[in-house]
């Protein structure tokens, strides 16, 4: 095993081993547990940065494991996997800090953090997957790893939400399996490659390949919450805030979106898809999801549900960008939104969790005047909300800009209209929250004031959203610099001929 392979395995093990150890720890050993979590995530981030540097200078990282003839497990590091891996690792560190603060004095923390670590391991596996079979394997394991997190509270509502989640995820997974097997039967075993499979298959199996594409998109679309496969997401909001943050920013939804990216760019390839003419369908589904999610978000009074529908809407920006795969600018917009949306959404969920944990606030109508009590939390929330609407200089503007430029370049005027309408709808459901918090007077006592101390809430709950909100602003202000997510996305796109 050479050093590159060792690196890949270590990245996976850096969260797997702490996870296994935490399972075996007794409930009271919370210091040891926290230590393991932090060590694991810091080790992981360092290794990931080393891997990124290596990828930038052209090193090859690859591990192959033949399972059965024709099917092999492949983990490889390419620029696209580096993007998702870095995002996951950094956000995992912040979510760990947050979760430790959030679940103080909660029961079953060993189980929670154990599954938490497993979840991140599996997400990194999805990021590093080098072919569809490996991707599928880790994708299904993600469902298994996140189910216990969804039902953590153990209430009737959680169990129902968990059951729902499993139904959706396994159905999607089965469809995905059929599609993967079918595809392999036609084009043979294939690694992810920048040009997709050979175009000669299109002449013989054109319509079948189109149908397989649809099945693949359905398979990943469940996790990516494309309408009408999104039904599990709003109900899963019953989980604790760190889980929602993880589900919506880091692991599940992003894994689905990442799947769409891989299928479009690395499995089918831009040229094949253009020949097949199936992209307008993806555009239409993405556009419909964007508008549908936003309209339904308007109707929610529960804060986390509104954020859930907002996620459904925003993740489809990535699908929208991928559907314009012949426009390099649109692909840049979609890919960079992977990172940006993760940052903004996680901030919003952290803040929602803060409000719930400190003041017992779950509904937007209870949020009047809350900024006076929790100014830093609401400041972070405001920055992320403005980013969602697409106001400069937040990162949200940067992704919308590239998507808009891509739509114009491709002559898709109506997609630009969808973007503009979506921004207006986002403003419609985010700005009133900000106005309630900053400009209204508090109406009666808070539902449940659970924390009164020196700072507005526990430090471990306060610092993560401030960090991510800062990144949302900073990454936007230096978007054009060498070290921004945008720069890395440009590096990724250079590897494809679009």
């Amino acid at each position: 095993m050479n050093s590159g392979q060792l690196l890949l395995v270590s990245i996976l093990l850096s969260s797997f081993i702490p996870g296994i150890i935490i399972f075996c720890l007794p409930e009271e050993k919370h210091r040891l547990r926290t230590l393991l979590n932090f060590c694991g995530s810091i080790v992981k981030i360092s290794l990931v940065l080393v891997m990124n540097a290596g990828i930038y200078y052209g090193h090859v990282f690859e591990i192959r494991l033949p399972l059965i003839p024709g099917v092999e497990l492949l983990l490889s590091g390419d620029p696209l996997s580096a993007l998702f891996t870095t995002l996951s690792s950094v956000l995992w560190l912040l979510t760990t800090v947050y979760a430790v603060g959030y679940l103080e004095d909660s029961p079953n923390r060993s189980h929670f953090f154990g599954y938490f670590s497993l979840c991140v391991t599996v997400t990194i596996g999805i990021a590093l997957a080098g072919n569809l079979v490996t991707f599928l394997l880790f994708y299904e394991m993600l469902t298994l790893a996140t189910y216990p997190l969804v039902i953590h509270r153990g209430t009737e509502k959680s169990l129902r939400a968990g059951r729902n989640y499993l139904m959706y995820a396994f159905s999607g997974g089965a469809v995905f399996l059929v599609a993967v097997v079918w595809l392999q039967a036609i084009v043979g075993p294939m690694d992810f490659s920048a040009s997709g499979f050979s175009p000669m298959y299109l002449t013989s199996h054109g319509s079948v390949l189109t149908f397989i594409f649809i099945l693949l998109i359905i398979g990943v679309g469940v996790k990516a919450a494309l309408v009408p496969l999104h039904g599990w997401l709003p109900q899963a909001m019953v989980a604790p805030a760190p889980v929602s943050a993880l589900l919506h920013a880091v692991a599940v939804v992003k894994a689905g979106a990442f799947g769409i990216v891989r299928i479009v760019l690395d499995v089918y390839g831009a040229h094949n898809l253009l020949l097949m003419g199936v992209l307008p369908l993806l555009s239409a589904v993405a556009a419909f999801t964007i508008i549908y999610g936003s309209v339904l978000a308007l109707q929610q009074d529960d804060l986390k549900r509104r954020l859930a529908y907002s996620t459904i809407s925003q993740v489809s920006y990535i699908a929208l960008g991928m559907s314009m795969v012949d426009q390099q600018l649109a692909v840049i917009g979609g890919l960079v939104h992977l990172v940006h949306q993760g940052l903004m959404k996680i901030t919003l969920f952290f803040c929602a969790g803060n409000l719930a944990e400190t003041l017992g606030i779950h509904r937007i109508s209870e949020m009047r005047g809350v900024a006076r009590r929790m100014p830093l939390t609401m400041a972070a929330f405001s920055i992320a909300a403005l980013g969602m609407i697409g106001i400069p200089p937040t990162v949200g503007f940067v992704s919308k800009w590239y998507l808009g430029l891509g739509s114009l370049a491709g002559g898709n005027w109506w997609l630009l209209v969808v973007l503009v309408v979506s921004s207006l709808l986002n403003a419609w459901y985010f700005l009133p929250i900000l106005i309630y918090a900053w400009f209204d007077k508090q109406q009666g006592p808070w539902p449940e004031e659970l924390y009164v101390g020196r700072f507005e809430t526990r430090l471990m709950l306060l610092v993560p959203p401030l960090v991510t909100a800062f990144i949302v602003m900073a990454a936007g202000l230096v978007a054009n610099a060498q070290i921004s997510p945008l720069a890395w996305v440009r590096f990724i796109v250079r590897g494809y001929t679009l």
Partner: protein
């Protein structure tokens, strides 16, 4: 003039301090140092003024890494706008100093005030499209905090209308920016010269920046905002932030370098309608802020007409630029002075001296173009532009200008009368606002006379013919005012500002129908709201059905059967 690209850190730091100082003070307002910082508020405007007075032309500093690549610098037009903005914001900050002593939300107001200030200074210095858009957005969104500050129902409504139109404007500008960058392949404003624009871009730019200046039909936010914002904030809005729209037009549609005759008609007609509508809207209210708002709509309408005339062809554009700049300077100084007069009168309880009343009347009638005022200079400039363009513009202006002057006179006399009739309890600590008023009045009276830039027009305005042509409308306006006063104004307009049911309220009802769950009793406002209202319960039902796992399971089974069928 070719800009000298000197990218030294020195100039970068200097130029950044214009917007950077307010931002730094804003940051300090969030720390325990806030009391000290709020007392030092006027200092935030000093760097901008110093830059405007000392930094040479042709300084241009770029930073490829900033936002989406930014460039800032000062040119002739920018310098004038910056001096003007710095002056108005300085006076407005001074007038805040003794206000808000017992206001719980003082810090919040200062934070929004400083952000709007930073945005205003930043956009004047911006030489790239993104920089302008960034600071314009910063200024626009921060102004919400100023409009809705007082927290009562009318202020909140004014804030909502404002925010709604700001979002529309932002989206229009976003789309326009996309089209522009695609057409010109560059993000620098200087590269827009000579480009040929698609008509859609003109309309989008008209909407985007027109909302800021209250162009018809997007004027709905202006009067409620000026009425409900605290006086210093309204001054900043009316005296400086509104100019960001004009500057936006100037930067994105460089007069003298592009021409678009069809688009010009849009500007001219919209401007003319606004000039007339503004007067009527202002007369419809007894609140001084609202009256001044109407006057702003009207004056900005005239400025829009000038801009439109400049778009007719490149030669007209070159001629129109000085007229535009003079009008902007004159209007800002006069309007802010009138707002300071309103603030002073409110704080002192009434007009305390004849000098004060005379100053107010002088400034007010300057807006109408009374001879020997800056208004006369500007009107002369307008007439000379019309002469330069020839028929039919000259003919129309001989009729149109006196009409608007008469209307403005009536409106301004209405304003002066409201102030004269004011009689409330005076507040203490008014020295600063008195000084501010004197300073602003001096600026109005003197600036255009001593400024070399206006030399041509000022000497022409002293010709006997011009004096005669200028006095007629003012005299007619005075006469009509006293006539109207006896009959209509006292009876019909007693009730104050009526709550107008405008387009915004319809859309708001639509949205509320969509948002609130228990809406069974409410009658839909119109056909569109009714149909969407009927649709909403269906959407909710569908959502609920999709959430049940049985549905998922059944659809999955169905899919399986399909697949099986296909395979066989």
């Amino acid at each position: 003039m070719t800009p000298l690209i000197s990218e030294t850190i020195f100039y970068a730091l200097i130029l950044s301090s214009a917007a950077g100082t307010p931002l730094l003070m804003l940051f300090l307002c969030c720390t325990p140092l806030r009391m000290k910082v709020m007392q030092l508020l006027p200092l935030a405007t000093v760097p901008a003024l110093l830059i405007a007075l000392t930094v040479p032309d042709d300084v241009s500093v770029g930073a490829g890494w900033f936002f989406m690549s930014g460039r800032m610098g000062l040119d002739g037009t920018g310098r004038i706008f910056l001096i003007l903005a710095g002056f108005v914001w300085l006076l407005a900050s001074l007038s805040i100093l003794s206000l808000f002593k017992s206001d719980h939300n003082r810090t919040r107001f200062h934070i929004f005030f400083l952000t709007a200030m930073a945005g205003n200074f930043g956009l004047i210095l911006a030489q790239g499209m993104f920089g302008y858009y960034l600071f314009f957005a910063m200024m626009s969104f921060a102004s919400y905090g100023l409009v809705a500050h007082e927290g009562h129902k009318d202020a909140r409504r004014a804030g909502r209308i404002y925010l709604f139109l700001v979002m529309i404007g932002e989206m229009a500008l976003f789309t326009a920016l996309l089209c522009l960058v695609q057409t010109c392949n560059s993000m620098a404003l200087s590269d827009l010269a000579g480009a040929s624009y698609h008509p859609v871009i003109f309309i989008l730019l008209f909407i985007g920046f027109g909302i800021k200046i209250g162009a018809l039909p997007f004027h709905g936010w202006l009067i409620p905002a000026y009425q409900n914002a605290p006086a210093p904030a309204a001054t900043a809005l009316a005296g400086s932030m509104v100019n960001a729209g004009i500057l936006g037009w100037l930067r994105f549609m460089p007069l003298g370098q592009i021409s678009y005759p069809d688009g010009a008609m849009l500007f001219i007609i919209a401007g003319a309608l606004a000039a007339i509508y503004g007067v009527i809207a202002g007369l419809n209210s007894k609140q001084p802020g609202a009256v001044l708002g109407g006057s702003s709509i009207s004056q900005m309408g005239l400025i829009t007409v000038v801009f439109g005339m400049g778009l007719l062809d490149q030669d007209a554009g070159i001629y129109a630029i000085p007229v535009l700049i003079l009008y902007v300077v004159h209007h800002s100084l006069a309007k802010s002075s009138l707002f300071f007069a309103y603030d002073l009168t409110t704080r002192e309880g009434k007009i305390v001296s004849h000098f004060q009343l005379a100053a107010i009347l002088f400034t007010a009638l300057a807006l109408a173009g009374m001879p020997f005022t800056s208004g006369a200079i500007v009107k002369t400039a307008f007439k000379e532009l019309a002469i330069h363009l020839g028929e039919p513009w000259y003919g129309i202006s001989t009729f149109f200008l006196p009409l608007t002057a008469t209307g403005t006179t009536i409106l301004m006399l209405h304003f002066a009368r409201i102030l004269k009739n004011m009689n409330t309890i005076p507040k203490s600590g008014n020295i600063l606002i008195q000084l501010v008023f004197v300073a602003s009045f001096t600026a109005v009276a003197a600036t255009l006379w001593i400024w070399p830039f206006a030399d041509d027009f000022s000497s022409h305005s002293l010709e006997r013919e011009q004096i005669f042509q200028g006095s007629l409308p003012v005299a007619a306006g005075c006469f009509l005012f006293f006539l109207l006063q006896r009959s209509v104004l006292t009876t019909k307009f007693q009730t104050g500002t009526p709550k107008r049911k405008n387009l915004f309220d319809t859309i708001k009802c639509l949205a509320t129908d969509l948002v609130q769950k228990k809406r069974k009793e409410r009658q839909p406002q119109n056909m569109l709201a009714g149909s969407i209202y009927r649709l909403v319960p269906y959407l909710r039902k569908i959502e609920k059905i999709m959430g049940r796992w049985q549905v998922v399971g059944l659809s999955y089974l169905a899919l399986c059967f399909c697949l099986l069928f296909l395979l066989l």
